[in-house]
Amino acid sequence: MNILGELALWVALPVAAWGMVLGFIGGREQRGDLVLSAERTVYAVFILILLASLGVVDNFVNDRFEYWYTANYSSRNLDIFYKIAGLWAGQRGSLLFWLLLLCLFSVLAVWSNKRKNREFMPYAVGTLMGLQLFFVVVLLFAEVNPFEKLGFTPVDGAGLNPQLQNYWMTFHPPTLYLGFTAFAIPFAFAVAALLSGRLDSRWIHVTRKWILLSWFFLSVGIVLGMRWAYEELGWGGYWFWDPVENASLLPWLTATAFLHSIQIQENRGMLKVWNMSLVILTFVLTIFATFLTRSGLIESVHTFAENTTIAFIFLTFMGSVVAGGAVLILYRLPQLRSETQIESFLSREAAFLFNNLILLGATFAVMWGTLLPLLSEGFFGEQITVGPPFFNRVNIPIGLVLLALMGIGPVIAWRRASRRNLRKNFLVPVMVGGVTGVVLWALGVRYGWALATFTISAFVLTVIVTEFWKGTRARARIEGEGFIPAFYHLISRNRRRWGGYIVHVAIVMIFTAFAAEPWYVEIQQTMEPGETTEVASPLGSTYSLTYEGMSTNVRDPDQNLAWQAVALLRVERDGRSAGTLRTEKRGYIRPEGQQSTEVGILSRASEDLYVILADVDLQGVVVDNDPAAQAATFTFLVKPLVGGIWAGLFVLILGSLIGLWPSAERVRSAATVRSGRDPFPDAAPALGD
């Protein structure tokens, strides 16, 4: 299996190259036979890469430590679940996994366009195969081959970092990677549009769902990462502005901008050059994020004697994509002219354009802050870093403007808003927002940014609820339906719009949760068993935490535990029992000497109580088993509204799925495709037929 896996990787090299060449030549020469052949390489490379990935999984499952990658990321006693997830635990496997997902999406794109959009397919396939070829080359020649052998066979592997042995960590990277790789499809179609010269909105129409799918996975991946940090890093935070986090945020920001700007092109025929640039930029940022996430380039510059080959290859590739994209856009510039112009500042176009500028501003700020250590080292020979204070200072004002635009954009008129349009749509929401702000002020809220966030959130929510209400009422009246069927039909007739509004609600929820940060309570307390500490929540309730004592376990090879010290705390809220929390410290057998802290979280809709075993005399408790050594220091945190982030994720998933769901019209057109009629008679003749 593993021999087969490595062999498959080598075979994929010429096949991908062949597919790329055939795609481009087939498109240029209008040769349907070549294009069909190129499309077959898409399927072939997918199967080859699947074999290679199975080879890596096989190495993990069967403890083949003669391989460098397996030896570094696994051990005999590792849970089978994490052995399979070993495919994306480290850089080498991740790159292969990335390629596997890219191949999977390429197959889906080719398969779903067998009989339509044929004018794009040759170049789209050529582009996708070019990308796949790049990753195969990286895997084989950039010193990151997951099948590289050590030259000897260690008795056991080094083990997986315990912080990665977490449920969320198993799903967070693949979800992000799904988002990154799904964006390759819109990118490939954009390149195909530029090469084929079909530069109307068709390529956007074709890839709209892909764009949304990519955005959806990126969003979910980012929030899952926050959840992982919250549970596993053990300090109660969920976002650190760490380079790796920032890297995943960058393509999300530009993809969000793109998701909005394509609507202007579809509705008003403007921003064609802008959209082409955004799709290329977002794609390059997905590559950049992939590269940065596992390379450790930023954090470890001072010890940076690592793999520079891969940095060179990736930077060259990103540079070529940007340069090639720029050349193509310049070449097609005459055909990318806007069909119309913006008429007024007070218009939906202007609101969307503003949203785009702001999102790109945020992208630039985050990128600048992330790359500052590298840039300052390069230009001044000294490293300068900025941390969370910088990112918060820049991004909080930007985020608030974006939040406000979520209330303005959906209801302001296209072209030019009349005074009547403004009054009709904004009078009530602005008043609701204003009243919310005044009431919160009267209640004693004095944090400026938080007050602004809550005020604007109330405005946005009122706009969205009013839109739903108006739409449902109008439909109920016109169609003579009850309110519930009218509401259902309203959404199903324009899933993209209403799904989008639901996503906006999710973003409001998440932003509101962020804004509660000034109210977070933190108390550190050293306690003997039996002692009680009271923690007051800013929302009014009081928690009494009684330290029940510490139980210890020694050496449990099945769980990979060298030792374990578990503190139990009885929790009462306002005098009533609210259960028991456990927080512990553990030492692992593999990796040897490594330890971790597990936190206890008591969640309610309004707030979380978060308990950390900060410090304990491990020698006394675990080794000497001394009952007198049970004194422990705890950190108690109360985090109001933090649940809004996770609840927001579910709303975001709901809204995105509504937008992604195939519409009735698309199901019908898919049926006509199966019956052999061309659903797009206006499209160029299918090359492959």
Partner: protein
């Protein structure tokens, strides 16, 4: 064209505001990120630099970690990666990361942020450690382990 001109003003306005935010943000919050050797050189050249807050990355010296009993006060040494003779003593009054260790059998790199006290001890406000999956073990370590 007049309309487009107005939009250019809007565009330049947004760009100017974002640039302003970045510029003031960087100058107000930036921190030097140095190795112990670089920090020593900087203080030699300009003694006032001693009082500037910096981030320093070094390797934890095995066996130097001392914990004041009953408090969360930690003290340990880090040395320069290239020159083990340059050592900084760090004091940290909080919970150390789980991956921190001064054991002989482990190589732990720490990034400490803070400033020197008059007594020459580096008082850290944050300590990050680097090890584990992201910093892959060499095959030699595996063979010996």
């Amino acid at each position: 064209m007049a309309r487009n001109g107005r939009f250019m003003v809007g565009l330049v306005g947004v760009a100017a505001v974002v640039t302003y935010l970045i510029w003031t943000g960087v100058s107000d919050t930036m921190v030097y990120y140095l190795t112990p050797a670089e920090l020593e050189a900087k203080i030699m050249a300009d003694p006032t630099f001693r009082d500037v807050g910096v981030k320093v990355s070094g390797r934890v010296v095995p066996g130097t970690h001392v914990e004041v009993a009953g408090q969360l006060l930690h003290r340990f040494d880090i040395h320069d990666m290239d020159n083990p003779d340059i050592v900084i003593t760090v004091e940290y009054d909080n919970v150390l990361p789980d991956t921190f260790s001064d054991s002989e059998s482990m190589v732990v790199d720490a990034v400490v942020e803070g400033r020197f006290r008059p007594d020459g001890v580096f008082e850290a406000t944050s300590v990050l450690t680097k090890c584990g999956s992201r910093y892959e073990a060499s095959p030699e370590e595996l063979a010996n382990g």
